[in-house]
């Protein structure tokens, strides 16, 4: 089949009068020429999606440091791909896979690790990481980067979701949010706070960043906290998990908040900053923006949990892996290690106010020992959970996000979750079951 397609494509090339159809299409990543001619220098291509300015600069700094440290041996050429607010970067990867032009080192979003690993686009890196190294990563990084017992891609940084609160509003109602993880608000306590504070054009909370990946990233934890998840631990089945009794309970809680208008389904991005929401489910990335609002006095407390349930928190980040196309996997793994070592972790964490991916990095980040950031560190290093590790993740997240959004707008809870389970199980059976 593939041969037929290639042959037809060759015909096209000739038809177009270009006559270059003989191209083998198996060149692999660019920039390997030097190694092949016998020189010592190995050139590696590295793709990653464009991020914010500070983050971009941090990567440039770390790549320059790498090239200096390995001068004459390895040269890492970083190519920044526009990502936008869509799947443009993933589409670019799809195209590169189809044409065998993946770079040696490739950045990928955490939940895609399983998908890429199952498709054999990236290779396992276990042999390059010592046990000590692995233990130094926060647990969610290892969970996110592993597929079927092998470790493929370490996260560059971590993330977390906490509950921000508006101090003035809390003071007004005499509410003292917890500052110890064992006292974290339960859903019911949080609900009471929202009920109390939601008046005069102020919402009880602000919790919709977008209606896509955010929905899975933030709200899967409600399932986990209630003792279930949205798929089984093996990632092979959603039936009986996403739509389990506990799952329905979690979704119903979120629906109750929506029905009682305790949050805005289409909030302005700056609702909390303008004092129009008493609390906010958000992440460390929100913090730099707060300083533009001098009237805002804010604090951080823990991700709410189910009474008697598990304390948990979202996590996840972009990771780096070595592509199966690479002719220099050893050198590429060297680069991956460098980009995720303690120094890189510290540089990144400092530049973008995101929590570090390594426990040891926090030694150099004293600001995380004090409130408010201590909350983030505690969550990241102890209770955070990665999103489901499954090759069918693209379907899972899309359908889950759609269903949860529907539920928040009043759709029948069980029916919506049943449909997620059915679609996911179908997809998994059709495309990933052995």
């Amino acid at each position: 089949m593939k041969k037929g397609i290639i042959a037809a494509l060759l015909a096209v090339s000739l038809l177009a009068g270009c006559g270059t159809g003989g191209q083998t299409n198996n060149d692999g990543p660019e920039g390997n020429g030097a190694a092949e001619t016998g020189s010592e220098l190995v050139e590696l291509a590295y793709w990653r999606p464009q991020a914010g300015e500070e983050e971009d600069n941090a990567y440039v700094q770390r790549v320059e440091a790498f090239n200096k440290a390995y001068e004459g041996k390895i040269k890492l050429n970083m190519e920044v791909i526009t990502r936008g607010n869509s799947f443009a970067y993933e589409d670019k990867i799809n195209a590169a896979v189809a044409s065998n032009t993946l770079p040696d080192v490739v950045a990928l979003d955490g939940p895609n690790v399983a998908n890429y690993a199952a498709s054999e686009i990236i290779i396992p890196l276990d042999e390059y990481f010592t046990e000590e190294d692995m233990n130094d990563f926060v647990p969610s990084i290892v969970q996110q980067g592993s597929y079927q017992g092998k470790f493929y891609a370490p996260g560059l940084i971590e993330s977390s979701v906490v509950l921000f609160y508006n101090k003035k509003i809390m003071d007004k109602y005499g509410i003292t949010p917890p500052d110890k993880i064992e006292n974290a608000w339960t859903w019911d306590q949080w609900y009471d706070v929202m009920k109390q504070t939601a008046k005069d054009g102020v919402f009880g909370t602000n919790m919709i960043n977008d209606k896509g990946e955010w929905m899975t990233y933030a709200f899967e934890q409600f399932w986990i906290s209630n003792g279930t998840d949205i798929v089984n631990p093996e990632g092979t089945e959603a039936e009986g998990w996403v739509n389990s009794g506990q799952g329905i309970e979690a979704a119903s809680f979120l629906q109750k908040l929506a029905n009682e208008k305790l949050f805005n389904i289409d909030p302005k991005p700056t609702e909390f900053e303008e004092g129009k929401a008493a609390t906010k489910l958000g992440g460390p990335w929100n913090i730099p923006g707060f300083k533009n609002y001098p009237d805002l006095e804010w604090g951080i407390t823990y991700f709410p949990k189910k009474a008697g349930g598990t304390q948990t928190a979202p996590s996840g980040s972009w990771a780096v892996g070595v592509s199966a196309n690479s002719k220099h996997p050893k050198e590429a793994a060297e680069a991956v290690k460098w980009l995720t070592n303690k120094d890189s972790s510290v540089v990144l964490a400092k530049s973008i106010s995101m929590p570090a991916n390594r426990k040891s990095a926090y030694e150099s980040l004293p600001e995380y020992d004090e409130l408010p950031l201590r909350v983030i560190k505690e969550q990241v290093t102890t209770v955070s959970r990665a999103r489901p590790v499954t090759p069918a993740y693209p379907v899972l997240t899309q359908k889950f996000a759609e269903a949860l959004t529907d539920i928040m707008m009043g759709a029948e809870v069980k029916k919506s979750l049943d449909s997620v389970a059915a679609t996911y199980d179908d997809e998994y059976k059709r495309n990933f079951a052995e």
């Binding site: 177009a16 270059t20 189809a98 730099p288």
Partner: protein
């Protein structure tokens, strides 16, 4: 009703309707000159459309972040090449389908219409394979050549050329003028409005190119304005002021082009010899 009252009524209707249509553009432009914190804070009142707290910070920050002028030049260059070469290729094809008789004409016309229907999403990957095989990735031809011929433009030209009276063409042909000469010296001058319309519609549609350039370009050198804009849609926090600034900056050329082409609308009437 007198002419004067008709004019007054028309102007009134037009003014009310114009406000309803232009508000988003106005909001975008005004917001681009506001501090980040005011953009959404002002949204719930008329302040949203008033240039309060004027600042150029968004533009400074945006231009600091990316080489916007370079992206603009790139876009102007390749989109103009598509649109101009498109005018040539598609207009003669549309003319043949409208006025020349040859076997298979109806079939070609139907095929052209059918091709307008093909969803671009479904051919994106196969088209990428072809362009990759031609070794055009990361070169201008990848952005230009596949889009020169355009079934939409062909069909539009064809429909407009149908309205040209046959007598004019026949008399030229009897005078011994070749079909090409007839087309260039008679049809083209008669068709200012349609050429202008096809040009601007084609230009706008490619000005918005995003998915395709992502696939076929990797380096910095061929990036267009849409890729520039998308730089600012990153992980949160998203700076809407900078987004509004780049969007405003990239919409201006289109508005200028639109104004520029207005004169061809009038030209269509005068040059056809029917009173202007």
């Amino acid at each position: 009703m007198t002419d004067r009252t008709v004019k007054l009524l028309l102007n009134l209707t037009n003014i009310v309707m114009s406000i309803l249509f232009i508000t988003p553009l106005l909001w975008m432009v005004v917001s681009s000159f506001k501090p980040e914190t005011r953009i959404f804070a002002d949204l719930s009142s008329i302040k949203a459309l008033l240039p309060l707290n004027f600042t150029l910070d968004n533009y400074k920050a945006a231009f600091d972040r990316i080489p916007m002028m370079k992206y603009l030049n790139n876009s102007i260059f390749y989109v103009s090449v598509i649109a101009i070469s498109g005018l040539a290729v598609n207009s003669i094809c549309g003319y043949a389908l409208a006025k020349l008789h040859f076997k298979g004409r109806e079939f070609i016309l139907s095929a052209v219409i059918a091709l307008m229907i093909v969803p671009f999403e479904s051919i994106l990957m196969p088209l990428y394979f072809i362009v990759n095989n031609l070794q055009w990735v990361d070169t201008w031809p990848a952005l230009i050549v596949p889009f020169v011929a355009n079934s939409f433009s062909i069909f539009m030209f064809r429909q407009f050329f149908m309205d040209i009276p046959n007598e004019i063409l026949e008399s030229a042909s009897i005078d011994g003028s070749s079909p090409m000469k007839t087309f260039v010296s008679i049809v083209v001058p008669l068709s200012g409005p349609v050429f202008a319309t096809v040009f601007i519609l084609d230009f706008i549609s490619h000005w918005g190119d995003f998915m395709w350039p992502i696939l076929v370009t990797t380096g910095e050198s061929l990036r267009n304005v849409q890729l520039g804009i998308q730089t600012f849609f990153t992980l949160p926090p998203v700076f809407y002021g900078q987004i509004m600034a780049t969007l405003t900056f990239t919409t201006v050329p289109i508005i200028l082009l639109f104004l520029l082409l207005q004169k061809y609308y009038v030209q269509g009437i005068t040059s056809s010899g029917i009173k202007g």
